[in-house]
């Protein structure tokens, strides 16, 4: 497949065929990652900057590992280690990085639209590793890929996304990707954690977790940021855990082979019980493994396309 995109900003840019092509490519890399020698020379000579202006462990490590396994050179830059802390604008920081001629910048930023802003200003490939509440395309791709490993098709699958939807870039990207693939998506959260106006979103809304779990094939739990309580969106974490924390009793309402997912890091006992996180329905560690393969696929597709070495 000819890959024509310069940047990966959100999964809304990708067609169903392109998403399937990412999955197919990731499948090969998953196999490579399980070999004793986990390195291929595919991106030898390419440079990838990991520009994480917001704290991240798993996404950054996952991209770093993905780049290295493809033999690309990866360089890390955090906000604290950059001139952003000295008052430099995001654009100037990015232009400075670009002047060092990387082939791609992987960016994580707390502002929605930050990746799109950089993409408009830079010649090199920009890969969005999470921008504000807006999008987290590689997380959505790895979530979809993980499920594609256990399901033959997404048609007629009911997937519940549970938790802080309003502030979740994972939820926004998952909704787009999963519905594109043919699944039906439910959202469940207290009204204070649902976006204000989603009447045109292709989802069904629930505020009652038990009703939301009825007959679902998969449940994606989202991390609850503990400061939501201080912002007045929740009375307290105990009440949240009682009403919206996923527990064993909910599994009886779902399909027998329901899958449990979580993008991490988890607050055990708040949004998910420890028992479920570690249980046999959990795909949480599969997601982490898939993450490296999917990010290898993304780097490969974006950086190995013809002409990528001709940035000016």
């Amino acid at each position: 497949m000819h890959w024509s995109h310069k940047d990966l900003l959100d999964v809304s840019q990708l067609s169903v065929e392109e998403i399937r092509h990412v999955f197919e490519t990731a499948r090969h890399f998953l196999e490579i990652n399980r070999r004793p020698v986990k390195k291929v020379p595919t991106l030898k000579g390419k440079s990838v900057v990991l520009f994480f202006a917001e704290p991240s462990t798993r996404t950054k490590t996952s991209f770093d590992m993905a780049a290295k396994r493809l033999s690309a050179d990866s360089f890390s830059l955090s906000k604290s280690g950059s001139s952003l802390l000295k008052g430099e604008s995001l654009k100037d920081t990015a232009l400075t990085l670009q002047a060092m001629r990387p082939d791609a910048i992987v960016v994580r930023h707390s502002f929605s639209g930050a990746a799109e802003f950089l993409a408009k200003n830079l010649y090199c490939t920009v890969i969005n590793a999470g921008d504000g509440w807006h999008a987290h395309p590689t997380q959505a791709l790895l979530d979809g890929f993980t499920l594609s490993q256990v399901w033959e098709s997404f048609e007629n699958r009911e997937i519940l996304i549970l938790g802080d939807i309003a502030h979740s870039r994972v939820a926004r990207s998952d909704i787009i990707l999963l519905t594109k693939l043919g699944a039906r998506v439910r959202l469940c959260a207290p009204r204070t954690l649902l976006p204000f106006d989603v009447k045109n979103w292709p989802v069904t809304l629930f505020t009652d977790l038990e009703r939301a779990c009825e007959g679902v094939d998969a449940i994606i739990c989202l991390r609850l940021q503990l400061e939501r309580q201080e912002a007045g969106l929740l009375p307290d974490l105990r009440e949240y855990a009682q009403r919206y924390g996923l527990a064993r009793k909910h599994l009886a309402l779902a399909k027998d082979d329901v899958k449990i997912m979580h993008p991490g890091p988890m607050n055990r006992g708040v949004e998910i019980s420890s028992e479920l996180a570690d249980g046999d329905r959990s795909l949480i560690l599969d997601q982490v493994e898939a993450g490296v393969a999917v990010r290898m696929a993304v780097l490969y597709l974006y950086l190995a396309r013809p002409g990528t070495q001709l940035h000016h």
């Binding site: 654009k91 802003f117 204000f196 979103w201």
Partner: protein, 424 residues
């Protein structure tokens, strides 16, 4: 007949003729033209439309303190080119306009750079430093030349203090202009709360943040039986409350801005910082409600809320960009587009941009009657121009109209009978 100036071949109310001006005042408009006048100066109006100079009751000229965004000289240049003969400048400068010395400085700058106009009318801070804690020295500000008081940009939450400000300013014969925003409800909001903000993952500013405060002001005006002017109204519910207040004869007046009449929240898609403004661009339904409200006189005044920013300030991620649209250069052409679309008439524009602002803020206006101030401009309705850095005289090029072609342009502008701008 003696005259200082005759502007020949201009069109007023569909009639071509000559405008006679003497000693800075309108003498007569003679349909068909006149040969009998001995004028010191003649100007050929080439068949352009004759319009009274517009009044903008809500601009930010940024001086003192933020001259890199705009200064009084450049702001007034943009005003005159945009058809405005008088502008009222908000107090959120640095230092804040909460003392006579700042007011006097602003007036002096205007006189130095534009001795013959456009005319600047400073608006004094409602509270010291715009902090919302103590009343500013309103009498001192009025004496220095302020024409109204406002905490624009930083709404006063304390209802008791707001009440006292309205009462105290009424003793001085001046009005309070309120920025209607409940800042708890709008806290950290970046655009209108709704479908687009949900999709983009941007924290929204709910319309109820505005309407809550509009309701407060209406109740306060009713209780005190004192006038309050509501700034930059942006949504349908506010319009409905204002219509109700007017039915009850509550002394409320209100303004909206050209950008709320022509654009909606969808302009923010792609994280377009040029469309970031406070109050935010709302929904298509709000746009329609506002268009109806200005037609039906529920909204009294059009004002630009001219808010210039430097290009580098808007060239940042959406969350970091300052609010504001630069409006003086484009307001008339944007509104004339609504005339061409049949939404408004020329008479509506003159009422909204001239008659009502003059009446509400006690300013001089021109209705082309004998003795009126000779403030007028020649307007070319067929002229098409592209909005760009070169065609805008404001230092602020921050408008979603950038790159658009607009119809209608000011060709020459006279104030007190003197030519102060000429594009012919």
């Amino acid at each position: 007949m003696q005259a200082d100036l005759v502007v020949k071949n201009v069109v007023l109310n569909d009639k071509k003729g000559d405008l006679i001006v003497h000693q800075g005042k309108i003498k007569e408009f003679v349909p068909g033209g006149t040969e009998r006048v001995q004028a010191e100066e003649e100007f050929d109006g080439q068949g352009f439309l004759l319009w009274p100079s517009l009044i903008d009751v809500h601009v930010h000229l940024r001086e003192p303190g933020f001259e890199y965004k705009e200064d009084i000289n450049s702001g007034l240049k943009a005003a005159i080119a945009g058809g405005f003969g008088q502008v009222m400048a908000m107090a959120n400068t640095n230092p804040v306009n909460d003392s006579a010395s700042v007011t006097e400085f602003m007036l002096e700058q205007a006189r130095n750079f534009h001795p013959h106009g456009p005319f600047l009318h400073p608006i004094g801070a409602l509270t010291k430093g715009l902090t919302g804690k103590e009343l500013s020295p309103m009498a001192e500000l009025a004496e220095a030349g302020c024409k109204a008081f406002s905490n624009d940009g930083l709404p006063v939450e304390n209802n008791e203090l707001f009440r006292r400000a309205v009462e105290y300013s009424s003793d001085l014969g001046l009005k309070v202009i309120d920025h209607c925003e409940d800042s708890y409800l709008s806290h950290e909001g970046l655009m209108n709360e709704g479908e687009v903000s949900a999709y983009l993952g941007l924290k929204g500013i709910p319309s109820v943040a505005e309407t809550m405060q509009v309701a407060r002001d209406i109740l306060m005006a009713a209780y005190l039986d004192l006038p309050i002017h509501l700034a930059h109204i942006s949504c349908r519910q506010s319009v409905e409350l204002i219509a109700w207040a007017k039915q009850k004869s509550i002394p409320i007046t209100a303004e909206t801005c050209p950008h709320y009449l022509v654009w909606d929240e969808t302009l923010v898609q792609g994280y377009n910082t040029l469309a970031k403004v406070n109050p935010p661009l709302r929904t298509k339904d709000d746009v329609l409600a506002l268009q109806q409200a200005v037609r039906e006189k529920v909204i009294d005044v059009l004002a630009t809320d001219h808010a210039p920013h430097a290009q580098f300030e808007k060239d940042v991620p959406f969350a970091e960009a300052p609010n504001g649209i630069s409006g003086l250069d484009t307001a008339l052409s944007l509104c004339f587009g609504l005339v061409l679309d049949g939404v408004l008439s020329n008479d509506d524009l003159i009422r909204l941009f001239v008659q009502a602002p003059a009446e509400i803020f006690d300013l001089k206006a021109n209705a082309f009657q004998e003795g009126d101030v000779a403030d007028f401009f020649l307007f070319a309705p067929e002229a098409e121009w592209e909005v760009g850095p070169e065609t805008m005289l404001s230092k602020g090029k921050n408008t979603p109209a950038l790159g658009q072609k607009l119809r209608g342009q000011v060709m020459a502008h006279f104030l007190r009978g003197r030519l102060v701008f000429n594009r012919i």
